[in-house]
Amino acid sequence: MHGNAMKRVNMSKESQMRAAINQKLIEMGERERLKELLRAKLIECGWKDQLKAHCKDVIREKGFEHVTVEDLVAEITPKGRALVPDSVKKELLQRIRAFLAQHSAL
């Protein structure tokens, strides 16, 4: 029981940590910067065009008039996640780790 309690405490500590870090990420504007960086890289590597073409297929399939956001999201997001090139992923992870290293020590 004591172990479980400890786990829970650790968990909550951990989640607190995570929440704190996320908050910091946002407050310092780093999240926004990361987001822009990702967007730019994805356009550059053609990910956006690829996905748009996929969208066209989905739309033609589902019918032009009745397409909803949910439809699109359901179809697009998994494919989108898979299509991100490795280089982009690596670079982004690197930056995030750097941020964490810098700011989680406080």
Binding site: K13, E14, Q16, M17, R18, A20, I21, N22, L25, R31, L34, K35, L38, R39, L42, K48, L51, K52, C55, K56, I59, F64, V67, T68, V69, L72, V73, I76, T77, G80, R81, V84, K89, L92, L93, I96, R97, L100, S104, A105, L106
Partner: protein, 320 residues
């Protein structure tokens, strides 16, 4: 939260890595969502499929790769050898030279007035017969040419009554062109001392431009003064008053018209007069010896701004 809660020891490396991946996943999902919203809006607003063309049109606008033809399929030097007929002079002109030729031919371009003025200036130095060499460009410049009044009369019929040149020269005459009949002799005289006064043939009005107006010659001005104020006398006694500018009698007025203002002023004359007038710039006229008319109102055409004094030989000769 306490400081130690935030320490790195609270999260080991794997957890940190997991956190990093989570953050990354969030970011990617944001990107995807963004795209979905964009596409969805484009579909609903109707501009999503706009950039697509059908196959037929695609074929129409394909890049052309043949020799002698540009990528649009147009021939490059198609109009090089074509010739056009000028509507003004009815000559056959090469297509690439057509526009500049038309400019000169109609007298409407930026340079054509410059060229015409230059020609006039040069034709003044030559004899009148040489101005026979007037080109087409001068057809519309009748009002401007010196000593070609006869030709002006002949060519009046050639002149296009609607040409902008003509209306320009009529409209832009300075001020009102006065009718000489309504003016008394005093007014006439004062007018003639300051204005050109030459009467236009079509309107019978006096030119109100300056005494050096390029539209009329000095001879014309003299004629007008003779006509309006009485005939000239060969030996005119000089103006008595010191202030030579308002002379009461007409003879003196005319005597002030410098006859030798024509371009054939001899160098010796002008030299001597220049020398003599060094100190007496624009001074009162004294008695004249020559029958020619002295001038205060009409400086010689050869007067240039660099000269210290106006070269008016007849008046200032006796100042030597």
């Amino acid at each position: 939260m306490k400081m130690e809660d935030m320490s790195l020891s609270g999260l080991d490396n794997t957890k940190l890595e997991a956190l990093a991946h989570d953050i990354y996943a969030d970011l990617v999902e944001d990107a995807c969502l963004g795209l979905c919203f964009e596409v969805h809006r484009a579909v609903k607003q109707g501009y999503f499929f706009l950039d697509e063309t059908d196959q037929d049109s695609m074929k129409d606008f394909e890049i052309v790769d043949q020799p002698g033809v540009d990528i649009f399929g147009q021939v490059y030097n198609q109009w090089k050898n074509k010739e056009c007929v000028c509507p003004n002079c009815n000559r056959s002109i090469a297509a690439s030279r057509f526009a500049p030729h038309l400019e000169k031919c109609l007298g409407m371009g930026r340079n054509s007035s410059r060229i015409a003025n230059r020609r006039i200036a040069s034709s003044n130095n030559m004899s009148k017969s040489e101005s026979d060499q007037e080109d087409n460009d001068d057809i519309n410049d009748n009002d401007w040419s010196y000593g070609s009044e006869k030709k002006a009369k002949k060519r009046k019929s050639d002149k296009n009554p609607n040409s902008p040149r003509r209306s320009k020269s009529l409209k832009h005459k300075n001020g009102e062109l006065q009718c000489y009949e309504t003016l008394g002799p005093e007014e006439l005289r004062s007018l003639l001392t300051t204005q050109c006064g030459v009467m236009s043939e079509h309107t019978k009005k006096m030119c109100t431009r300056s005494l050096r107006c390029p539209q009329h010659t000095d001879e014309q001005r003299r004629t007008v003064r003779v006509f309006l104020l009485g005939s000239s006398l060969p030996d005119v006694d000089g103006v008595v008053e010191n202030d030579g500018y308002d002379v009461p009698d007409g003879q003196a007025l005319m005597s002030r018209l410098q006859w030798d203002g024509s371009s054939d002023i001899s160098p010796s004359d002008s030299a001597s007069s220049k020398a003599s007038t060094n100190n007496s710039d624009s001074k009162k006229p004294k008695k004249k010896k020559k029958p020619s008319l002295g001038s205060l109102g009409l400086p010689s055409r050869k007067k240039k701004p660099k000269l210290p004094a106006p070269p008016t030989p007849s008046i200032y000769d006796d100042m030597n």
